[in-house]
């Protein structure tokens, strides 16, 4: 059974210095508030994992939480660069950042292998690209039946996975719908998991396209209304496209970013520009 708790308590209990942490969300339902709580609690030396690191990872990297990033596409969707990520990669500020780079197909299969209790996954991937020259975690594997050579990638099993969902019931069963990305896999692959939700409800009414994560498969659930802002929570609020655009200017400069961090993350329990 999942523990029903607060965001601050959950992060304090579950996220430790040096952990491999995945905050997943594919444009939709990104657990931004949880990422900012990790910044507030000063967690360090994280290996961040995500298929599509965006603004919240830019914030965590700029705030010095991370020493590594495992990813397949890092950008500010529809806007451009993640300047804090680029500053870390290009100028080691505020600290060097180890990159481990994959394709989406590879990352998705790595989570799926992790969720399946397998040490690796097989795919037709990376062929002809320069990724295997720079990423150690890509290997060849031969089909024992046909002799065909395919690609293997190792399972991802984060110490902690964090996702945001629309709802949970009071037993901690979690319901999410819309684009659900790789969130189920991220939670099931992890040793510990935290789900932030828009709200607790008495009953999870079945909905088209909804998936339920049973309470016994989740470590902790915390109510964090608007916890995915500036991304969106289908049925609750829209994507705040202005935030994404404004982030470009805020993040471009170290001082502007640091000022923003002081005001909007350290200065409050909700992060909005």
């Amino acid at each position: 059974m999942a523990e029903l708790t607060t965001l601050a308590e959950a992060v304090a209990a579950l996220v430790r210095d040096g952990d491999m942490v995945a905050l997943e969300g594919f444009t939709h339902l990104i657990p931004v508030a949880a990422g900012q709580e990790i910044i507030r609690q000063g967690v360090r030396d994280l290996t961040l994992v995500r298929m599509t690191p965006d603004i919240v990872y830019d914030q965590m990297i700029g705030a010095g939480c991370a020493s590594g990033l495992v990813f397949s596409w890092g950008g500010n969707p529809g806007v451009g660069s993640l300047h804090r990520l680029r500053d870390a990669v290009e100028h080691e500020w505020p600290a060097p950042l180890r990159l481990e780079e994959h394709s989406h197909a590879g990352m998705a299969n790595r989570y799926a292998a992790g969720a399946s209790g397998l040490p690796f996954a097989v795919l037709r991937g990376y062929v002809g690209t320069d990724l295997p020259r720079h990423t150690a975690n890509i290997a060849a594997i031969t089909c024992p039946f046909t002799g065909e050579v395919l690609t293997a990638v190792p399972a991802l099993n984060p110490d902690v996975s964090i996702i945001h969902a629309q709802r949970a019931d009071r037993r901690g069963n979690v319901q999410l719908w819309g684009i659900t990305g790789v969130q189920k896999e991220a939670v099931l692959a992890a040793r510990r998991s935290l789900v932030t939700v828009e709200e607790f409800v008495d009953t999870l009414e079945p909905r088209p396209g909804a998936m339920v994560l049973p309470t016994w498969a989740v470590t902790a659930v915390a109510a964090v209304p608007r916890g995915a802002h500036p991304s969106y929570a289908q049925g609750y609020y829209e994507r705040d496209n202005t935030y994404y655009q404004e982030w470009d200017a805020i993040s471009r400069d170290r001082d502007t970013f640091t000022g923003w961090l002081d005001r909007h993350v350290f200065g409050s329990a909700v992060g909005a520009p």
């Binding site: 939709h28 599509t52 950008g75 451009g80 320069d130 684009i179």
Partner: protein, 269 residues
Amino acid sequence: MTGGSVAGGSVSDWSADEMMTVAAARALVGHTACFVGIGLPSTAANLARRLHNPDLTLIYESGTIGAKPSVPPLSIGDGELAETADAVVSVPEIFNYWLQPGRIDVGFLSAAQLDRFGNINTTVVGPDYRRPKVRLPGAGGAPEIAASCGEVFVVVRHSPRTFVDRVDFVTSVGFGDGPGHREQLGLRGRGPVLVITDLGVLQPDPDRCELALTALHPGIELETVRSATGWDLAVADGLRVSEPPTAEELRVLRDLTPTQSTGDSRWAT
């Protein structure tokens, strides 16, 4: 590089970007299912669905199959994609069950760098991966789209910085080192059979696999394309001139993108 009229651009009451998008949309006539990258490809694919191919299935890597957005999405995971889709599946499923087996006939990509063999770079600019001149966003779904779709269309603005002799990093393979390379790699799809830019259209020479100019957009000089291309660009026999956008094409395109920048979403350089 920004949207709007650029090098050799608008010659009439339409912009070079509009010509490019219309040409890309026309290329989707007769196709069934298209795996769509965000930015320019998404705009073109949505235009095709409105103009001449209402049954075209748009597939986004966020897991939406058959999305019918009223405006081109800002991100590949916009809510409207899910709300209008025939099916929404998980991200592992979209790659494993839908893309990987080769059941999608067209993959539609953009590029930060593109070389003479149609290889795409969206990873790093500069010779040293660990110390890049510019760090680009990375691979996303493109490597497997380029490998597994029946064929690949690339839509990208023409410039010598983009059209390079050899990409600094092969993020998504085209014809690799040239003839026979895709076959040797065991790739199933035909690769980048069509590159549509704001200046014209490039297609691979069947023997040499090198991209050659097969069409100029109206009003564009051959020399303009050559000087925007970082290798000695071959010109195919029977070089065509693209049909200019029709009034109907322009009307629908402008309806579709009233407020949107047509900028692609790669990290700005």
